[in-house]
Amino acid sequence: MKPKRQSRLSIETPEGVVFSFELATPVSRSLAWLVDAVAISVASYILGELCLTLNLLNRDWANAVSVVLYFAISVLYGILLEWHWRGQTIGKRLLGLRVVDVHGLRLQLPQIALRNLLRLVDALPAFYLVGGLTCFFSRSAQRLGDLAANTIVAREPKTEAPDLEQIAPAKYNSLLAHPHLAARLRSLVTPEAAAIAIRAVTQRDGYDPQARVALFRDIAAHFHSLVEFPGEGLEGLTDEQYIRSVLRVIYGGPGDATGGAKDKLTV
């Protein structure tokens, strides 16, 4: 039976706290590998050109150095960079990926070496077919090298908080006049719904006016269905203003209804 694929790898600490890593998709890993392949080619080309200068001294030794350097770069590129950058290569950095231990422990050099040396089998018969298929069927999106080395490739978490002043300026907020309802709203709104609302507000100018009105109406209806504020709190508010007020409630804390700026959640 095919194991169920997961999108996150959760680790429960002995203290009972759970943290998780978002697993990288095969597509993002392939893109990172493409970037790395280009980086290896560029580095090999540059070193090859430098070796040409050795031709002036001895052509045979220049060729030998060039062969050894190309081999060393292709084998050691992943090992040294992942060791130095704690699980990242140039491609993984650009794509926001990182190799991590499946138990959340520190990556060890033998682990990194093993996962990189096993690329020889993962790359078979061409274009990482074996590795790609293993990754596709593996529960934690691991290729053979990852399975042997007990590693996964995870997405780097983005830890920036939304800029409240951009999406919900600290103005008079009638919803904050009802702190108990505001607290209830904060506890009921899911991260996904909040993310959709943030995206709708930040990208409002990119929408067709009619589509924008319909979108804000749907999002506002969702928030209304969670907590119904008294009529006077909503009087004169458009759907968009209502959503901005909700976001201020979610991210700005209860505060008061006067619009006094609260601490921004910069974390």
Binding site: I11, T13, P14, E15, G16, V17, F19, S20, F21, N58, D60, N63, A64, V65, V67, V68, F71, V75, R86, D101, V102, H103, G104, L105, R106, Q108, L109, P110, A113, L114, L117, L118, L120, V121, L144, L147, A148, A149, N150, P157, K158, T159, E160, P162, A183, R186, S187, T190, P191, A194, I250, Y251, G252, G253, P254, G255, K262, D263, L265, V267
Partner: protein, 326 residues
Amino acid sequence: MIIDLPRFVAAERVYWDELQALVARLETEPEWRLSLPEIQRLHYLYERCSSDLARLDTFSTEPGLRAFLESLVARAYTEIHETRAPIKVRWKAAVLAFPRAFRRHGAAFRLSLGATLLGCAFGWFAIRMDARAKAVLMPFPHLLTSPAERVAEEEGMKTDRLRGRKASFSAELMTHNIQVTIFTMALGMTWGAGTLVMLFYNGVILGAVAADYVYAGYGTFLTGWLLPHGSIEIPAILLGGQAGFVLAGALIGWGSGAARSARLRAVAPDLFAIIAGAAGLLVWAGTVEAFISQYHQPVVPYALKIAFGVCELVALTAFLGWVGRE
């Protein structure tokens, strides 16, 4: 449940920042040793941030903050719960790790040797039973000629055919053989079947070449040709096979109650030591093959070449068998 998120952030942030700074220093300075009060403080901060993360679960609308705390707790967890000593590049320890890893997995090496010898026997008898098999089994075109012709050609050579390309030939041999050795190890992920096939195939070629030369009466030439580099190169490939079988053993886990990930974790340092050691041996073998093995009598007497190969084999056996014994 957290009612006032900004107040919660304002109150706890000082601890998060402190933990972040501590973890960042531990990450960038692995050699840094904490004093007892520092360890206690690190543990306190980790527990406090873990508790904050757990409290945040009651407040589902702050994904950014949650992601930040998850990341911080994960990094602190890595530093606190890691029990393996950080790898330190110390030459003496690195050199000793190789023979020690080799001796820890003697059965895998014997299996590797057995598969190769079985292949040798097959290649030997294939050539003896059917001379036409030579066309299929010989890996290089120059081995398809009769041994007498080749020996006459090699011994009668007036010029150095490798002149001006010895170093590049040596580099090609090194890189190719290291690649084969890594590949033999990596094939251990096929539950050892790929490693077995690879070793058997190498053995078949070796057996076929040996049978061809020995039965033509050129055993001395063959020994003088192969021994200087083969006494190191063949054991290095066998070490690749040993690593492959160790990997396969950890994957299969016969007779072990440990989880697969624990078994693989346990053998990873030994695999690394064996492959790194084998790669080092192959650098030496490549140099010897290009600069010594390809020169025959009268340029280099066979007795000298054979004695050199035997010395290498004895030195390698002594190194793997005795160096670093505790």
